[in-house]
Symmetry: C2
Subunit: 342 residues, 2 copies
DNA sequence: CCAGTCTTTGCTCACGTGAGCAAGAGGATT
DNA sequence: AATCCTCTTGCTCACGTGAGCAAAGACTGG
């Protein structure tokens, strides 16, 4: 590339395969092959090309590669729940694993339920190979819209089970998990549980509440009290727990709060300890789900359930690379983490 | 597009502008113009095109658009510090604002210092228009590498001041902020401060420690004690504070811990209260920086300093859209948030 | 009704790569 | 040395759009 053409030589970015080919004394296609792992190229050519590329500062243009090959190696990650610290853990794990396997991630903030459609449209314009939902506000309607448009190959629901047969769900086995949790609660002698549930969605569902209720009914013949929180937000959870418990006589209080996840549990603990002035776990015990980093803090010492995120992420990569279209759903077994809160 | 061509008609995604043009009775270029906001097109054509596009499920292919126009409307967001909850807040704000303005975000996890180069290379292959660093491990060497390669137009350091003249830094005015904080500390009568600092980088610097030290020297003629933590991680901070303070007699303890950010402050509070069994703020007060959501929790009630993230994000968009190349650095004024911890 | 002006439209060319094919190079076998 | 096979290389064509130009159309004022 001549420097006479000042405008075009502004970035090293528009060094193209042709320039490298000229410098290395091979054809353009040999240059491109040098950067593709599946291509057949002689060791000598590879070395020449790489040396020239290094010298000129060439890197292949993935936009063009994607356009020509119809594979973008790009996935959209849709999130709507930035109040939940577990999302940070999930993002760290997914970005790490996906990048290692050559996938890039388009981060999309699904502002609210009505925005999900726009978010999907947005992602589809980049021709992502797959959409991964780690949000919560995706109900049937949104999923159907997404699947109907079909502008991406795969719709993956991560860390949440989906009833929709056209989605791929990679999640922890809620039934197994909550049974283990309920067994623990039972064995420790708690008898007046209250279940703190998050927002209820339809297609992308957590089976935690149902499983717990069923367990309790089966073992004790009665229904545990259930309280719903409209978002996985500790502050919101704190407000609702306060409202539910503050006026009650001690005997009418639950002896344990089983929470659908850590975000809710942490909000609950804050309220129980600092506003109701009760002890944890002596007056009210609390359990969570996810094992976020803060759960280990001395403030919470939360008994919770850890999802095998790394394993789930590895499987996600498999799913992305797979050409299968059916039976890709998978459930994983996590681990009960016992601390002081219950 | 004929359905006889089963392979190609698999997605609605490869409905192309040609198909829409045929359906709408206009040329392909008119179709594309209909989707470009700066293009000149008659109301009648626009309507026809949009109707046909809707019917066929057409959305423009941004890969091709980017290839042809040399503008990707894509920025890479490089993060290496997922332990700090403030990152979640920043991501929420940035994704929200950037998407509204038509920018998509490539999320890149910069695993460690040595990986930053790979991360930048990765981003450059997508021909991003700008790289935004909200990580911390970017030292001179990495910045120089990035700038030398010059595969993107702008290198933006967000929420951190940079000494490097080739980067654009959008940050809170640390000097102003810490002076205000120090004034508050002073006014409340604290006289034995300890400064808890994060990792020391060179180019992308926080001026917090220096400013505080200078203030103290100026007002009291002595140097405050400084303790360094190699990452903004509450758990790490807790360990180091424990190590520093556990063996000291009460009189040798600081009366306030001024922390470089909330992540460190929260770790410190956990240790002071639960392991050293001291009261906050009576025995040791604590201040933070950032005002993460957890800072308002009853566990922390952290006195801290809030960065005007929304304003900073809006300015970031301006910078992205600007064709200026110089003097784009900008400092913002935040707000001291007084709570119970100091 | 016509010249002048502004708006809209269609076209050529370019962006940088991959798929798939055919030709070439190189080595082993007969 | 001729034949066959395999590995490597170069080529044609295609991916779906934008920039910029020229032609066509619409509008204005005299």
């Amino acid at each position: 590339m001549e420097m006479t053409d000042g405008k075009k030589a502004h970035f090293a970015g528009n060094v193209t395969a042709d320039d490298v080919a000229l410098a290395a004394g091979v054809s353009r296609w040999t240059v491109n092959r040098a950067f593709r792992k599946d291509a057949s190229i002689s060791a000598k050519s590879l070395e020449k090309v790489m040396a020239a590329a290094e010298r000129l500062g060439y890197v292949p243009d993935l936009r063009a590669a994607s356009l020509a090959s119809d594979r973008s190696n790009l996935v959209a990650l849709l999130i709507d729940d930035f109040a939940n610290p577990h999302k940070l853990v999930m993002m760290e794990r997914l970005t790490r694993i996906l990048r290692r396997e050559g996938w890039d991630i388009l981060l999309v903030n699904t502002l609210d339920r009505d925005d999900a459609g726009h978010a999907l449209l947005n992602a589809s314009q980049r021709r992502v190979d797959a959409v991964i939902l780690i949000g919560i506000q995706f109900d049937d309607e949104v999923l159907e819209t997404a699947l109907h448009a079909r502008r991406f190959r795969k719709l993956i629901i991560f860390a949440r089970t989906s009833q929709n047969p056209n989605t791929i769900s990679i999640a922890v086995d809620d039934v197994l998990a909550i049974k283990e949790m309920a067994n623990y609660v039972n064995a420790r002698g708690y008898r007046r549980p209250m279940f703190l549930a998050g927002p209820q969605t339809y297609s992308a569902h957590l089976l935690r509440k149902e499983t717990f209720v069923e367990y309790w009914r089966e073992h004790f013949g009665n229904e545990p009290e259930i309280v719903g929180v409209p978002a996985y937000d500790p502050v919101l959870a704190a407000g609702i727990v306060m409202e539910k418990l503050s006026e009650r006589p001690a005997l009418a209080l639950p002896d344990i709060l089983v929470c659908e996840n850590d975000a809710l549990a942490m909000g609950a603990i804050d309220v129980i300890r600092h506003r109701l002035n009760l002890r944890i776990p002596e007056d009210i015990a609390v359990t969570g789900f996810d094992d976020v980093p803060q759960a280990a803090s001395p403030n919470y010492q939360l008994t919770t359930y850890r999802q095998p995120l790394t394993e789930m992420g590895e499987y996600l990569v498999e799913v992305l690379q797979s050409s299968e279209t059916e039976n890709l759903d998978r459930l994983f077994e996590g681990k009960l983490i016992v601390r002081d809160s219950a």
